[in-house]
């Protein structure tokens, strides 16, 4: 509950304050958003499965975002940034899709 409330609070704060993002980290934003979506869908599915855990949710959220940004950063340094971004997007995209399908099965029983 704390984690979800905190997340909502953070979203509201971000919308109200509208902080500017430094230009240096802007390449990592799309990947970070996709990683966040993946964590959100994972958390929602875990909730529906009845095994939601706040600590796991927050830690997986954080590690997802950081790891995804790190991979892209590494790829940029190695000159394969776009390819690695694609890889991350594919893996996370498949997970989001599968989790969304599981959520759908939970909600509509179909």
């Amino acid at each position: 509950m704390i984690a979800v409330l905190g997340l909502v609070l953070g979203v509201v704060a971000g919308l109200l304050l509208e902080p500017t993002v430094p230009v240096g980290v802007q390449p990592y934003l799309p990947i970070a958003v996709i990683a966040a979506l993946d964590a959100l869908f994972g958390g929602l599915r875990a909730q529906l499965d009845g095994i939601f855990d706040e600590k796991v949710f927050v830690v997986s959220f954080l590690s997802n975002v950081v790891l995804a940004a790190l991979i892209v950063f590494l790829g940029d340094q190695l000159g394969v940034g776009t390819q690695l971004s694609t890889a991350v997007v594919v893996v996370l995209g498949i997970r989001i899709f599968a989790n969304a399908a599981a959520i759908r099965r939970h909600l509509f029983k179909a």
Binding site: L5, G10, A46, I51, V58, F61, R95
Partner: protein
Amino acid sequence: MSEREPRVDEARGAFAASMGLLTSVLARPLDPGYEAAARRRTTEGRPRRTAGGVILLAVLAVALGALTVTAASTLRAPQPAVVQARAVLEEEVTRRSLEVSESEQQLAALDIEIQRLQNTALEATDPELLAQLTVDEAASGAVALQGPGVRVTLADAPNADEGDIDRRVHDSDLRIVVNGLWAAGAEAMSVNGIRVTGLTAIRSAGQAVLVDLVPLAGPYVVEAIGDPDRLPTRFAGTAARDHLALLRGVYDISSTVEVASSLIAPASAAPTLDRAAPLPVPDDEEEGT
């Protein structure tokens, strides 16, 4: 992010090992941590939360929420980097344009200065050369001229856009008008603000009329500086006037000829040096050749 599922690897053997990641992603998309935590809860009971842990959790959650929504809203903004680059370029263009116009003004001022110095220098030493130079400069278009004259305006026929290119003003029409004005005694001429001299080409490229290689669009205004009394009457006697009547009658290309009290023929583009010969030496004519 996902751990391998040992069962899948065992079942499919080494061949499927490389597919393990994809299979585990597809078959078990949920973070294994949730299951592990659920197992821990059943075996060990609810873990006791410390106050510090709860605060850390809340702070992390707030930070992550803010981060995600900030990232999303930043991405939704119309490509700040592109906008920024565009703004920088626009600024550069404006700045450089200003520099160019400043330089042009400076150039014009310096030209006038040179002209003045040249005139004062020649007035004292060689008035004949100065007179010759004035005439030549006027004829060659090296200097801008102002004076009374005749303005001939030609416009495409109103329905020229319908594909009938005969209803447009052609380069040959402009050439005939310009040559007619020369024949009528014009001293300096410009077409749509471009100085026409004896070396200026009036040509066409596609449907565009080029004067001195600059494409023009109608209506075409030919301004000729000359004697305001004699120029119109003499022009009326040339073949150009007949040609204008033909254009109006057959192709509906309208044209007007009017006398103007003050016309400006701008200087032509920087003159190029085509020929040079040594000055004849007054004392010994043989040596100078």
